[in-house]
């Protein structure tokens, strides 16, 4: 965070972020009781969690006003993180393709 900051303004932002996080937590719980399909529930739930996480990172962790080297370091981390998350999904897709090919091979032509 830059050296010259208006602390009173910062504190007002912190309190606003805290209230937002609290409200979003209630929204997350409320949404989980909605009668929607699993993929829709997952999308909504993870979207709200991402918004909450961004609020914490940007304001509590001061990422909104940080040096470039931190952004570059985090960008690299995000790239590896996405690769890590994609691996199990790719494995799942590969399994399904394999099963499909197996069924095709055994079907009489």
């Amino acid at each position: 965070m830059s050296e010259h900051v208006d602390i009173d303004k910062q504190v007002r932002i912190y309190v606003t972020v805290f209230v937002s996080l609290f409200v979003l937590t209630i929204v997350t719980v409320a949404v989980s009781y909605l009668d929607v399909s699993v993929p829709v529930a997952l999308t909504i739930g993870l979207f709200i969690a991402t918004v909450k996480g961004s609020l914490v990172a940007c304001f509590f962790m001061h990422l909104i006003d940080e040096k470039k080297i931190v952004y570059w370091t985090l960008a690299l981390t995000v790239a590896f993180f996405i690769a890590l998350m994609a691996l199990p999904l790719l494995t799942s897709v590969a399994d399904q393709v394999g099963e499909f090919a197996e069924v095709e091979a055994h079907e009489p032509h």
């Binding site: 900051v5 602390i7 609290f22 699993v38 969690a49 996480g53 914490v56 799942s92």
Partner: protein
């Protein structure tokens, strides 16, 4: 020998040693929890539709977990307020908010203790199901991070706060760095809560 760039920024990075160090540490933490989240995805996809049944059988306590989420969010506020107090030169308020942060961590762990013991009373152990195995692994690792963050904050709020009288900026920076770790722990819980309890 004096270690350079403990307070002043390094000309190459624009940051002091502590700040660059804590961010590098947090990136490694992202990959640690990332590996477990990837494991979670793999287990869920591979459960052949049994995930919801295992989740229901585990009988996780949503009201307690919601309360724990609120406690951790509150602790993040007290953490930044502790740092803001140091920026204003208010040692007394810094200590108040610092101890409140540690107390919130303690409340979180007590609630977690009640959650875990309720599971054990119903003979729900990590080996009971795939869901419980990853649940205990991830929430347990997170709880260890809460303990680490509490120890770190307790040191700077207690004996470490003597630095206020000799090098206030150094203490302020150190508290900002411990705060970054604490907020990261909060951030991880923000994702653990819906993933295990709600979805």
């Amino acid at each position: 020998m004096e270690i350079p760039y403990t307070v002043e920024a390094h000309p190459e990075t624009g940051l002091n040693n502590g700040k660059i160090g804590i961010w590098l540490f947090l990136t490694s933490e992202v990959m640690l929890f990332g590996a477990l989240f990837a494991t979670f995805i793999m287990l869920r996809i591979g459960s052949d539709g049994n995930w919801a049944a295992m989740q229901a059988e585990a009988e996780l306590n949503i009201p307690l977990a919601t309360l724990n989420t609120a406690v951790l969010i509150a602790s993040s506020l007290t953490m930044v307020m502790a740092w803001a107090s140091l920026m204003r030169g208010q040692l007394g308020r810094f200590k108040l908010f610092g101890w409140l942060t540690v107390a919130c961590g303690g409340i979180f762990l007590v609630i977690k203790y009640f959650e875990y013991t309720a599971k054990f009373e119903h003979h729900h152990y990590p080996e009971s199901s795939t869901f419980l195995a990853i649940y205990f692994a991830m929430t347990g690792l997170h709880a260890l991070h809460v303990i680490g963050g509490m120890a770190w904050n307790a040191y700077f709020t207690g004996p470490g706060s003597k630095l206020f009288h000799t090098n206030r900026q150094w203490l302020t920076d150190r508290v900002e760095h411990s705060g970054l770790f604490w907020h990261f722990v909060d951030l991880v819980w923000i994702f653990l809560f819906p993933v295990f309890y709600l979805l």
